[in-house]
Symmetry: C2
Subunit: 318 residues, 2 copies
């Protein structure tokens, strides 16, 4: 069986998407004397998250006669697919929960996507998307469990490693595993001795449990503030890659996520969403040596951002 | 008389400082259909502001036998000189008001600078710095009115124009004029038809008044929240450059500065200090065509940041 994602596949994706995505900056922080954090700021990617990489990677590889694409998401994946489709002149249908935050819906509509509103259950979203794909002949763009999507996400690590050279450790969040799978093959391809550390919220520790069990496990719906990390089980395709490359998974609490968001505001001058701060939270806690840290996104709810900025807690605030 | 600062001087500074400063990203925003803002995010520069460019430009040109440098500042210039001196192994003395915010003092001390605390009056700071320069043979690093400092600041515009090509307009804040002077010769050198617009706070409109009068004017101490834009008169050296290149100066209120900071948080995922958001405020108000926008810094007081994030006002918030 062909590998789900490889360094060569990521390199091919990087070439494909280069004209369409931002090369985001790598910002350095030194929270301790023996620790250098090399932070890849995908929060500054267009649409505010790494998801745009996977969307372009997939859409640029569509058959010429594809009548359009469909995706199900309430978050960054929706915006990414809508944006990539608009830029490439492809029709996009996004299946979104009817109670999604209005700004997210508006942004997706502003990029010209057709919104299909469904109930809040993620299984229903998936079913409706599959039905639309079949009925209208649209190509489904999965949020993570797709080789071209994962290869696209891995280009973030490729840019990071091109800039930093070998790393001692690499931290990235794990939800369905598309980002981590794409990044892991790059990190071990270019820096074989690096320890790859996945990060999950405390109540969304499906990948940690799966690694311990040696097979995929599923958790109840997580309630973490990290809304991008609520996938309940690793992807069928991403799982073997995660199993091969991850040294371990570390967990973060909501409080640690908020502290890391505050650190990013004051020390890096970056706005991160909770999911986007997860890798930073663990790197601040335990980082040693030269650590690559993938900051995955910045689309935070304004009310949460205000609360985080207002709460002066921990040693990172003044 | 030799020109205070030229495109060639900026190019020479760029070569000198390249190994020491970050090439900051240019982020694009489209607030209106007919307006593209190409934002140079100097808030992501090391030490959080463009000031590091001028500090390295000056310190890298010191005579080999200089026993050290002295600067007077309570803000970004202090941190920049301290950081550049530490990196280059040069002794630095910073004259700072005794009531400067403790974090600013701590950061400057963390970079190994010797702090000399004086009263809050800026004239006293200047006198003490001059006395130290004379008494200990230290080289004074002026915050703006120095050809090498201004040439260093201009490298921000050089990077911007290298990336964007010709611009319709260029917006940057004007305080003492070092940043604007360095940038203006670059913008008109590489994009001769660009309209160069300076931005000042409403009660710190010394450059606007000077342009109207045809000669330097001085204003009473401004009380704007833009603490980096409180210089009361253009520099003797920067003034002729400003007079030659500025099409006009636009003024911003504190409220507009806060709105622009909030726009940056939500739309660009950037933390800006009030001075750093000044050019953005005017570009959002009147920008048309391809506009270069210099976001000068991100070192904002956490209490102000929290207030700005909490206040949901204007059309940029959700």
């Amino acid at each position: 069986m062909a590998a789900f994602v490889t360094l060569d596949a990521v390199r091919a994706a990087a070439e494909r998407i280069a004209p369409y995505v931002r090369r985001t900056p790598v910002l350095t922080a030194r929270p301790k004397d023996d620790c250098e954090l090399l932070c890849k700021a995908e929060s500054l990617q267009a649409t505010g998250a790494f998801k745009l990489r996977g969307a372009f990677s997939k859409l640029l590889a569509l058959p010429a006669d594809a009548p359009g694409v469909v995706a199900h998401s309430s978050g960054n994946h929706a915006q990414a697919v809508a944006r990539a489709a608009r830029v490439l002149g492809i029709r996009a249908v996004i299946v979104m929960p009817a109670d999604a935050p209005p700004p997210k819906r508006e942004r997706t509509e502003a990029d010209g996507a057709e919104i299909v509103a469904v109930g809040p259950d993620s299984d229903e979203r998936e079913r409706v998307a599959a039905t639309l794909a079949q009925g209208r002949g649209l190509v489904l763009v999965p949020p993570f469990d797709d080789p071209l999507v994962a290869a696209g996400q891995g280009t973030a690590a490729l840019e990071l490693l091109e800039e930093t050279g070998a790393l001692d450790r690499f931290y990235a969040p794990v939800s369905g595993g598309g980002l981590m799978a794409g990044c892991a093959v790059v990190v071990h391809g270019l820096s074989p001795a690096a320890e790859i550390v996945g990060v999950e919220p405390e109540d969304g520790n499906d990948t940690q449990l799966s690694l311990a069990a040696g097979e995929r496990r599923k958790v109840p719906p997580p309630r973490t503030i990290a809304d991008g990390l609520r996938v309940r089980t690793p992807g069928a395709g991403t799982w073997p890659v995660l199993k091969q490359h991850l040294a371990r998974v570390e967990l973060v609490s909501d409080r640690e996520l908020e502290d890391a968001m505050r650190y990013a505001l004051h020390e890096l001058h970056l706005v991160l969403e909770p999911s986007g701060a997860a890798s930073l939270a663990v790197a601040l806690r335990e980082g040693r040596g030269r650590c690559g840290v993938l900051l995955s996104g910045g689309n935070v709810d304004p009310t949460l951002l205000a609360a985080v900025a207002a709460r002066e807690r921990g040693r990172w605030t003044l």
